[in-house]
Each structure stands twice: as C-alpha cells, then as structure tokens.
C-alpha cells in the first residue's frame, strides 16, 4: 500500500545528505578553523615577542597587536556571513556538473536551530541574553550584537578569564568554544534530521577528541596553548575527513560525457 510520507521523508533526508556527501562543507569549515588557529597564534606570538621589540619598531608592533584581534572578529563575521556562498562557489565547479544541484540550506524551511542552539551551555546563555526585553529596540539589537562579539572574543581566549583557576579555565574555555558561531549552526542544523545526523553534521566526535587532546596534553600548561590546539585539532580532522569524502565522491561520480 502506498504511504506517501515515508517517501517524502526519504527524499528530504537524501537531499540533506547530498549537501554533505562530497566533503566540501567539511573542507571549508576545517579551513576556517585553521585560519582562526593561525590568527590566534599570531596574537600569542605578538604577546610573546612584545618585550624583545626595539623602540624603532614598536609602533608597527603595536599596530599589529591592535589589528590581530580585529582580524579574528572580522574573519568570524565574514565567514559567518559568506560560508554558504563559499561552499556553493566550490560546489558549482565540482558537484553540480557531476550529480546536479539541490537548493542550499538557507532555502530550506526553518529548522529547529533555536532548540539546537539552546542545547549547549553557551548557546543557552546567548538565547537567554537574546530574550531579554531591553534588546528588543534597535539600539538594544546593536548592544546585543556587540555582546555576542565580546562573548566570542572572550571565548577565543583574548580576554583570559583570570578569576578562574587554570585547570578549570581550560575546561571552561573548551566548553564555551564547543558550538561554532550561530550562522554555522544554522547551516548545519537545517541538514540534521535526527539525533544521529545531528551528531554527524555537528562533528561532535571531533570536538570530543579535540577536548581530550587538549586535556591530556596540557593538563599543567597554559590554557592559551590549549585554546590554540583546540582550534587546530578539529580543523585538521575536518579537512582530512573532507578530503577523504571528496576523493571518494570524485572517484564514484566522474564528469558525465557531453
């Protein structure tokens, strides 16, 4: 007997899987983590070199020191706004000619990203801030946007929370950094259709592995190094996974002969 709903559900799941199957989103997200890692490394390198700089070059050094956190915020905002376009640009050259085009996640119906965001500790904090009545006006929205940026700047370890003991600080920073910025979450949440898929699209095992690596290697070291490694390990793992998926996809789907 014909049951139309399972067929629709399957078509929906296959279309969502299709957006991740070629490994391109994983490669792009991995590259973003590595860019962030390099930028955070630059900040720490500047901090380390500061006492050794001669007075002639101090102005240049200070300018770089001011510019580097701005670069981190700018790249987060830029990537947050344009990641889907970057992925689509690459897909239009690799995926569409081979296996066709499916509308990107921003075209899909609104998913349950709000619940997904609230399911993590920092996500719940941000949701709570968003719902405060003072943020409903135009100025309030600007304040909220600034607060969100400050929140992530702090998460990235630029303003280190010195009131926390070092070990707890390391774990706390890792916990706060767990969800990627909200636009990434929206992109991914729309592709998740059940709990197993949610874990897969949010690269949850990679984060667990990254936290383990950081905790095991840096139990008695500076949390800033842990933060840097925390960005590097999922970045490298995502790029590796994405490259394997892309190689498999290209092997299985050669360009059709015209």
């Amino acid at each position: 007997m014909l049951e139309p709903e399972p067929a629709i559900e399957q078509a929906d799941h296959r279309a969502k899987d299709y957006w991740l199957r070629d490994g391109i989103p994983a490669l792009v997200f991995g590259a973003a983590y590595i860019v962030l890692f390099l930028e955070v490394c630059t900040i720490f390198a500047l901090l380390f070199l500061h006492p050794h700089v001669g007075s002639n070059w101090l102005w240049l050094f200070n300018s770089a020191f001011v510019a580097s956190p701005v670069a981190v915020i700018w790249s987060l905002v830029w990537f947050g706004l344009w990641h889907e376009d970057i992925i689509e640009f690459i897909k239009s050259r690799i995926t569409y000619p081979r296996t066709g085009y499916v509308a990107p996640p921003s075209y899909w119906k609104k998913g349950d990203e709000e619940e997904e965001e609230a399911s993590t500790l920092p996500g719940a904090v941000l949701r709570w801030i968003d719902r405060l009545p003072i943020f409903e006006s135009g100025l309030g929205r600007m304040v909220r946007a600034c607060l969100r940026i400050l929140f992530w700047v702090w998460v990235l370890g630029i303003f280190e929370p010195s009131w926390l003991p070092p070990k707890l600080r390391l774990i706390f920073i890792c916990m706060l950094a767990l969800p990627s910025p909200s636009r990434f979450r929206k992109f991914r949440s729309k592709l998740a259709y059940d709990k197993r898929q949610w874990i897969k699209v949010h690269d949850f095992p990679l984060y667990v592995l990254a936290v383990l690596v950081v905790v095991l290697l840096l139990w008695k070291q500076h949390p800033a190094v842990g933060m840097v490694l925390f960005l590097l390990s999922p970045g490298l793992l995502l790029m590796l996974g994405g490259a394997i998926d892309l190689a498999r996809y290209l092997r299985c789907n050669p360009l059709p002969r015209t």
Binding site: A11, F89, Y96
Partner: protein, 107 residues
C-alpha cells in the same frame, strides 16, 4: 465520498508513477536541477523532460534556466498550486489506504 469515489477523483496528472516520483522529490526540497531529479528518479533524460513539461503545463512545476558560476542549470520547483495539488492527492490516497487497512479515514 466513498473510497472508490475517492480513487476516481484522484489527480491524474500526479497519479502517473513517474510524475508522482518527480512531485515527491520536489515536495521535499525547495528546488533542484534536472540532473539531480534524473539521478534520484532513475528516469531517462527524455522521459523526465516530457513529464516535467506535462507538470509545467498543469502549472504544478516551475522550470527556470539559470547559471551557477559557469555551470548552466535547469532549476525545477513546485508552485503553490503544485503543493496544494500534491497535498490533496496525498490526503485522498491516505483516505483510500485507511479504508483498505480498516482504519477510520482522517479528515
């Protein structure tokens, strides 16, 4: 309306198996291109083309030719009329299947 009468009132444009596959695929997603539909439906190029033309004629499907980068795309999506027609078709089928399985049909 009785179950046999429901069957007689089914939308014949959608009821054809190949067109039902196309409508199901397009119902689930906002839009897709010809190549994707061809791969997912398993239809030949000519077959898919003629069925899409029939659905376009019934104003159930919107077909647009565009470019993504340098790659030309024939993008297909369901129109509002197409969504309504498919929903109504699915409801009628549900009523028929409910009767066949001895369940009370859902209104």
């Amino acid at each position: 309306m009785t179950a046999p009468q429901e069957l007689a009132a089914l939308d014949r444009v959608i009821h054809e198996p190949a067109r039902l596959v196309i409508m199901t695929l397009l119902w689930a997603i906002p839009e897709a291109d010809f190549l994707y539909l061809q791969r997912e439906s398993g239809l030949t190029q000519g077959n898919l083309s003629s069925h899409l033309a029939r659905l376009e004629q019934a104003r159930y499907v919107l077909i647009e030719k565009t470019f993504k980068g340098k790659y030309p795309l024939t993008i297909c999506s369901l129109t509002g009329k197409g969504r309504e027609a498919f929903q109504s078709y699915a409801q009628k089928m549900r009523a028929v299947s409910d009767v066949a399985w001895g369940k009370k049909p859902k209104k």
